[in-house]
Amino acid sequence: MIEVSFEDKKIEVEPGTTLVDAAKAAGVYITTLCHNEQLEPYGACRICSVEIAEGERRRVVTACNYPVHKPVTVFTKSERTLRTRRVILEMMLARWPKVKVIQNMAKLAGVEEPRFAHPDRNESENACILCGLCVRICKEGLWHNVLAFEGRGPTRKVTQPFGEISPECTGCSACADICPTGAITMVDDPNHPADPARIRKAGQVVTREMILLDHQQALMRIVGTAHLVEIMNDYDLLPVNNYKFGDHPDAEKISSPHFRKKYFTQGVPDACYLGCNMACTKAVEGFELKTGPDQGKFVVVDGPEYETLGGSSNMGIFDPEWVIEMNYYCDTYGIDTISYATAMAFVMECYEAGVLNQERTGGLELPFGAADAAIEVLHQMAEGEGFGLTVGLGIRRMKKLFAEKYDADAAFLQDIGMEAKGLEYSEYVTKESLAQQGGYGIALKGAQHDEAWLIFMDMVNKQIPSFEDKAEALHYFPMWRTWFGLNGLCKLPWNDVEPEDNGEVDEPAKVPKHVDGYCNLVAGMTGKEVKPADLILQSERVYNFQRIFNLKMGFGKREHDVIPYRSAGPVTEEEYQSRAERYDGQLKEEQGLDPAAMSLAEKVAATRQWREDRYQKLLDAVYKRRGWTADGIPTLATAKRLGLDQMEGLTELLAAHGVKE
């Protein structure tokens, strides 16, 4: 730590801290103009000039970008400091006499009438004062480069390319937001929203948070969702070897720092749509393919994202280049990386358990980690040949096939075949989060985390301890997330980057400030005021409609919300033993048993019984909260409340499943 002294205060700061930040921490005020916390220090206006002493050496520096590396004394009121600031303000006042910020600062500095006439005197109150904030927010903050300076010396001005409104401009209005003089006006949106200013304001909040907070919280703009790999590995949540385990010593090789350093090439925003300021899409460019029909070609690969990386660890493969290759071919073939990876993980476990062998795989050796064989299967799947034909059937059909054809133990296959409603699990280990087991099991479209992602709330932060709490969460969050789908919006800006003070609000997991922001978007677009509860109601209607649709198609009941036991607890003794301390502890604390007196098999069985029972209790609680019957079907009252009773044949459909009221 280094000491920074001001006239009457002292403070210690980390080396490299700027004088402005040190002053702020010490409660000393230094005037700034071109400085903004969202941006790199720039040092152009020079208003923040202060005299400093470092040892013998005295000089004037700009506080906004001067880094402290030696003990320093700052003279914020010395004659040199004041004179420099005064004369600079005199220069500015001579050119822009009517601009409020300048008038105010000049007044504070005691500047009255400039002593010379500026040839380019500009009488506008909203004149551009060349602070460069707009140019920099566009470039550094949003990577857009729509605004730039043009001209040298006195001819310098802010402009867009060729002096025209740039087609690259997304209209994010961050520049207008940051401009201290109001020099930038926005041209109205071609979609004719009811209240464009309100939408812009809501957007500006998001933009500011992305610029300021993303790099502290998530790094979505830098590495995208890949940053989850290391977090999941740290919390025992990264699927390894078909969800047996939650971490691996080699996970670092496929973690985001590694990708950032070696593979991700895009330093520019690559967003699903141009206006997104989170822009989490990342890519690997100039990648040489090693296998398959495009072998030897240099290609651009879009990704990899977290699920693709987690899928790889789930197969026991920790080779970053292999992931990129797999990512490329899945994209090219039109195969979902999650379904492919989870299905392969199942196949690999079957191979290790003896259900499969080389004869059955067409000669491929497929234990966990068999990278070359795994990519070969991917090519076969796409070609519709060899063992790829089998894997391409998906886990649900493979389970049936292996039991029938190879006489495998159907119950074991059910335990380890990670699918629900026929859809392969996405890449999170859910064993220690009951709520998330429900999140996967009850999800309408199958085992997908998109409806509810409650692991941190439940397992890490322990915010939803009781069944009722979990049921409430499994009501609110699926409805809320459904709302994004209803509006064609992405959910990531809602909670991947959160407001700075989110931790202090009542229900941080809901990110209430952001929910308010969405209400503003809806109101700004439609002209109708909405409250958060209105949004949930919109979703609830659709969600229940979908559940009823599922019912009609033969998928909408309790029996369809079953989950493979691997997602709830340790299937095998090996698995139990890998986390023995945890499971033993739970036997003792949750069930009042004495693990020391039990055999391993007994412990596995007891754990299973307890966990499976809790899942059933969870279903009871969730169904109740949602206004469903014990069989998981919306009651007639629920349907009425949501106005679904007008659906033709609804009463008959419900009645056919025993629901009469």
């Binding site: 020079r46 520096v61 004369v87 050119r95 040839p119």
Partner: protein
């Protein structure tokens, strides 16, 4: 072509020397930019043709060299080995020159230099006063070799410093120590000790395990300066060798030369030299067979003065706008592409090889002060200046540090032409300062000039005679800098406009008494508040003229008078009725036909029509025109 190795360099040099010595005479025709523009290339072509026609090509070799230095007398041809100096050559002189000098053995007197009209011809270059007091290190090969032929450069000693380092296995630390002990300080303006810069860079590179870059600053934006251009044009291999030695010292593998596009000849010769060095194994993957890897890229600048500033230069090379950033973090540590970077000036780089081959002590002994403890102790070695303005011998000069301004102006420069008086010397480029006649005995070194309120800068010297108005001069430099300011920071961008406004109103006789305080106030804020060296030093021309020529400012403000008679708004041209004999010499030259009068009668100037251009003043042979 041969691959140069540590072992065979001297053999290659000897072989080239042998071929060279086989000619009876070498005719070194200056093909520097100055001489080229006065026709040296067509002279050279005709010369070569004549030699071929007379079948003398086995005896006489014509070499097109870089700038000889004495540009005012171009086109120039020096005949070696004797060193006979011919000037103002035209194609029509060729037959006579060949016949008389090379066939009959009688050098042609009327093509030789004379100190003044009617004085005797001085045959030998070394006897010409202009050259006599010069000592060349950076310009050691000027006008001595063919810059487009690497073999000729090797003959003159190129790459011997490098050979020495590689052959003797001199370690990077020892090399840096040698540069430190030589005391050499940067020739690009700042005068920062080169050895310290290299040392810091090496340390940063080692600490962060990041490969350093070496960069050559050939931006040379000072108006009227052409030191760096001439070095590159005359001896590109000196710069290349210097950079290789720098790369060895700091562990760089890549070097960059930043040169402005307006220097096409320098660029062409540099590209050629780099290509040849690559072909001969002096750049690339295995330098001189030593295993060292180093190559050089050339980056063409668009010609902005501010791009000579280190951070702006690097921004420009990275493809960004050439705007400076704060140097609280130095470029030696975080420079080009954020890697540790050594940036040195062309002249600095060109001085490195002789220091390495002749030794630190040799260099340290030239110049002033004591650099044995630290390079800050003095100014060692020589410095190249471009001597221009109201001086007889304009051109490029290289002199030992510590020489007096008087010696440069009078001994080398031959004094002020037309019998006028010296008024001031401006040194240090546009943001340098103006020193008065009373400071003529000042020693020219980094620290003395700085103390006197001027600076060494990169080596521009502009001599001004008594017809120069110092307020107007200050205004000229301010107006140059105003256009060249990048405009990023307020004090420079707006301050230059303000200072320009104030100076303009003074030269127009509308100055106010408070204006001198105002100038000092503005100057202080610009000096302390500006972001980069441009703005920080931009007011030097004003502050130094205020310091030494304050009464001239006061005359403008208080009496509405321009003592030098230069500020148009303040002067009237009249014809003295006593002196005018009515010769009419002034009538025709006047561009506005403002002068009337019958032959042999007194002429008068119509004040309405007069635009104060001063043409009549020069035209009158009887000093009858008066400036009021």
């Amino acid at each position: 072509m041969p691959k140069v190795t540590i072992e065979n360099l001297s053999a290659i040099a000897a072989e080239a020397q042998e071929k060279h010595a086989a000619y009876k005479s070498i005719l070194l025709v200056c093909a520097g930019t100055g001489c080229v523009s006065s026709g040296s290339l067509s002279f050279r072509d005709v010369l070569q043709k004549e030699i071929d026609n007379r079948e003398l090509s086995s005896e006489l070799k014509v070499v097109a060299t870089g700038c000889n230095g004495f540009c005012a007398h171009g086109p120039i041809c020096v005949v070696q080995p004797e060193g006979i100096f011919y000037q103002h050559l035209k194609a029509r002189h060729v037959p006579e020159l060949i016949e008389q000098h090379f066939v009959q053995g009688k050098p042609v007197e009327h093509l030789m230099y004379r100190a003044a009209k009617g004085e005797r011809a001085i045959p030998l270059e070394k006897d010409i006063q202009f050259f006599a007091k010069q000592q060349t290190i950076a310009l050691r090969n000027r006008g001595r070799l063919d810059p487009e032929d690497i073999a000729d450069a090797i003959r003159r000693g190129a790459y011997q410093g490098l050979q020495k380092v590689l052959a003797e296995g001199i370690k990077a630390e020892a090399l840096i120590d040698l540069i430190l002990r030589s005391g050499i300080r940067g020739r690009g303006g700042g005068g920062f000790p080169t050895g310290i810069k290299w040392q810091t860079c090496r340390q940063a590179s080692l600490e962060r395990k990041e490969t350093a870059y070496v960069v050559c600053n050939g931006d040379e934006g000072d108006p009227g300066a052409f030191m760096d251009r001439s070095i590159v044009e005359a001896d590109p291999h000196a710069v290349i060798e210097g950079m290789i030695l720098g790369a060895l010292a700091v562990g760089a593998q890549e070097g960059l030369v930043y040169i402005r596009k307006e220097y096409p000849l320098a660029l062409q010769r540099l590209y050629k030299a780099i290509d040849q060095a690559r072909e001969w194994g002096l750049l690339g993957d295995d330098l001189m067979g030593s295993g060292m890897k180093f190559d050089i890229q050339v980056h063409q600048g668009a010609g902005a003065f501010v791009c000579g500033e280190s951070t702006a230069l690097m921004a420009s090379m990275e493809g960004r706008a050439g705007e400076p950033r704060a140097k609280y973090v130095h470029t030696v540590e975080y420079g080009f592409r954020n890697a540790p970077t050594v940036l040195n000036n062309v002249e600095t780089w060109a001085s490195i090889p002789p220091i390495v081959s002749k030794g630190a002590e040799w260099f340290a002994a030239i110049g002033v002060g004591d650099v044995s403890q630290s390079p800050w102790g003095g100014s060692s070695g020589t410095k190249v200046f471009s001597l221009v303005g109201n001086v007889c011998n304009t051109g490029l000069v290289e002199v030992p540090m510590g020489i007096s301004l008087r010696e440069i102006v009078y001994d080398i420069g031959g004094g002020i032409p037309n019998g006028r008086k010296l008024k001031a010397i401006q040194s240090g480029g546009p943001s340098g300062g103006c020193l008065p006649e009373s400071q003529l005995d000042l020693a020219v070194d980094f620290d003395t000039l700085q103390e006197a309120g001027s600076m060494m800068g990169s080596g521009g010297l502009i001599v001004m005679d008594d017809r120069t108005c110092m307020v107007d001069v200050a205004r000229y430099f301010i107006s140059f800098l105003m256009d060249e300011s990048c405009g990023k920071c307020t004090p420079c961008r707006e301050g230059l406009v303000a200072v320009h406004e104030v100076l303009t109103r003074i030269t127009e006789g509308k100055g106010r008494r408070e204006d001198l305080d105002l100038l000092e106030d503005l100057g202080a804020a610009m000096k302390e508040g500006s972001l980069c060296g441009l703005g920080q030093s931009a007011v030097n021309p004003v502050l130094s003229t205020l310091r030494y020529f304050r009464e001239e400012y006061e005359a403008h403000i208080n009496d509405g008078r321009c003592p030098a008679g230069a500020c148009k708004a303040l002067i009237r041209y009249t014809i003295d009725t006593e002196t005018c004999n009515g010769c009419g010499a002034c009538v025709k030259p006047c561009p506005t036909a403002a002068i009337t009068g019958k032959l042999k009668q007194v002429h008068i100037i119509d004040q309405e029509a007069c635009i104060q251009c001063g043409t009549c003043l020069d035209a009158c042979n009887f000093d009858a025109v008066r400036v009021e």
